[in-house]
């Protein structure tokens, strides 16, 4: 029963106008049209969305979890990137 593998697609759904598409899961489908239909059936049975993107899973490049520190740790010391780092006199209220 050596079947040809059906390609995997990642599914992104925009829940409401004004929101970004968000990853919700994946489906298998032979092509993009079928992937959209499958995503609609599997992920929007209760009015979850207004728009669907499907992207071939193979098209995604992900960062390596072992690089996590190298990639993200440096921001921890850069507290001057946050507004609370700066002093504003009490007399100047809204800024």
């Amino acid at each position: 029963m050596a079947e040809t593998a059906t390609p995997l697609w990642e599914v992104f759904i925009r829940a409401r106008t004004g929101l970004a598409h968000r990853h919700v899961g994946s489906v298998h489908a032979a092509d993009a049209t079928l992937a959209l239909q499958a995503a609609r059936d599997v992920y929007t049975r209760r009015g979850e969305g207004l728009s669907i993107w499907v992207v071939p899973s193979t098209a995604i490049t992900a960062s390596d979890p072992t690089d996590k520190d190298m990639l993200f740790e440096p921001t921890a010391s850069k507290i001057y990137r946050h507004p609370t780092f700066y002093e504003v006199p009490d007399e100047v209220d809204n800024m």
């Binding site: 059906t6 994946s26 489906v27 032979a30 059936d41 599997v42 979890p65």
Partner: protein, 327 residues
């Protein structure tokens, strides 16, 4: 619908440096994600549990699908159809979660079709009357919800996220089942008898869904250590009995257990001995409907083969016909 506690992983502690880091993350309630390092035994246990859970959803469509064309009203038919569609969707979310651990959909389906993979024993019982659809929603989905809610906090991220979605969608399943039972229980004598008969037949198999008693359950330790599982089989079973018995009494139905009684001291319902021989027999393939269920899945897979082939062939042809500009 549901995963049964059937897995039997080897024990669980990995002493390597990576293993210790992994356990520290588990202890800190961090979620493990697909690309993170994990012990092989953890990965194997998850693949087995998640795929069994997925298979259970897919096979679980069969006993209920049996009644879609014979539902007594359009309202009932629409609800049952939606429920069975949900089970299909739940199977797909779960297969996708299992695939993140490095196993392909095709392998998983083959394991089910060749009978190598297990699925919840409950689906090997027949649905003989319409009341069985009520009993399944009320009892089987009720039992499933008890075990699934803690799985929303499972240590493996993709499984936990799939379970959150499933639990959200599943809450209507139990209610529609109870409503069916309530209407029958308050109906004509024949309807009452149907409801009672369904409860009599589904009660014990529902209690078996929680898996073997803790004393005989080889796998609990490892799964609890890994925070895949949060509560033992017996504690979830007790919780289910405590929640369900008053609901049955509210319908003036009786439970097929002469030993069932409320213990004022503990505040729990005590129940009689479960027939674990029956459980093992059904799980080993000798339940009332095992062969029929497997045959139905095999037939569906074979009948759909030409569709899968045609879709792939069409996709390949289109790809070759219009070579795209490099993106």
């Amino acid at each position: 619908m549901y995963s049964q506690a059937l897995n039997a992983p080897a024990l669980a502690v990995d002493d390597s440096e990576a293993g210790q880091r992994f356990h520290a993350r588990i202890d800190a309630e961090e979620r493990i994600e697909p690309n993170d390092w994990m012990p092989d035994a953890y990965r194997r246990t998850l693949v087995r549990q998640i795929s069994q859970h997925a298979h259970s959803e897919i096979v679980g469509m069969l006993p209920e699908g049996n009644w879609i064309t014979r539902a007594p009203t359009l309202r009932r038919k629409a609800a049952l159809l939606a429920k069975v569609q949900d089970e299909g969707g739940h199977g797909l979310y779960l297969y996708a979660a299992a695939e993140t651990l490095g196993v392909s959909r095709e392998e998983l389906v083959e394991q089910l079709l060749t009978g190598r993979a297990k699925y919840s024993s409950i689906f090997n019982y027949p649905t003989l009357s319409w009341a069985d659809i009520g009993a399944i929603g009320w009892l089987v989905d009720g039992a499933a919800i008890m075990t699934q809610i803690p799985l929303c906090r499972c240590s493996y991220g993709p499984y936990a996220r799939a379970m959150i979605r499933i639990c959200k969608e599943e809450s209507f399943h139990q209610r529609q089942g109870f409503e069916i039972m309530a209407v029958l229980a308050r109906g004509a004598d024949e309807q009452r008898a149907m409801a009672q008969d369904a409860l009599n037949r589904w009660w014990w198999p529902s209690l078996m869904m929680f898996g073997p008693p803790d004393a005989q359950s080889q796998h609990s330790d490892a799964s609890m250590r890994w925070k895949i599982k949060r509560f033992t089989n017996d504690s979830l079973r007790q919780r289910f009995v405590d929640a369900t018995v008053p609901q049955g009494h509210y319908l003036d139905l009786t439970f097929p257990d002469p030993k069932l009684r409320f213990n004022e001291t503990t505040g729990h319902w005590e129940f009689g001995a479960i027939d674990w021989d029956e459980f093992r027999r059904v799980l080993a393939g000798d339940g009332p409907c095992n062969r029929e269920r497997l045959a139905a899945r095999q037939r569906a897979h074979e009948d759909g083969a030409w569709v899968r082939e045609a879709a792939l062939a069409y996709a390949a042809k289109r790809r070759d016909a219009q070579p795209r500009a490099a993106a």
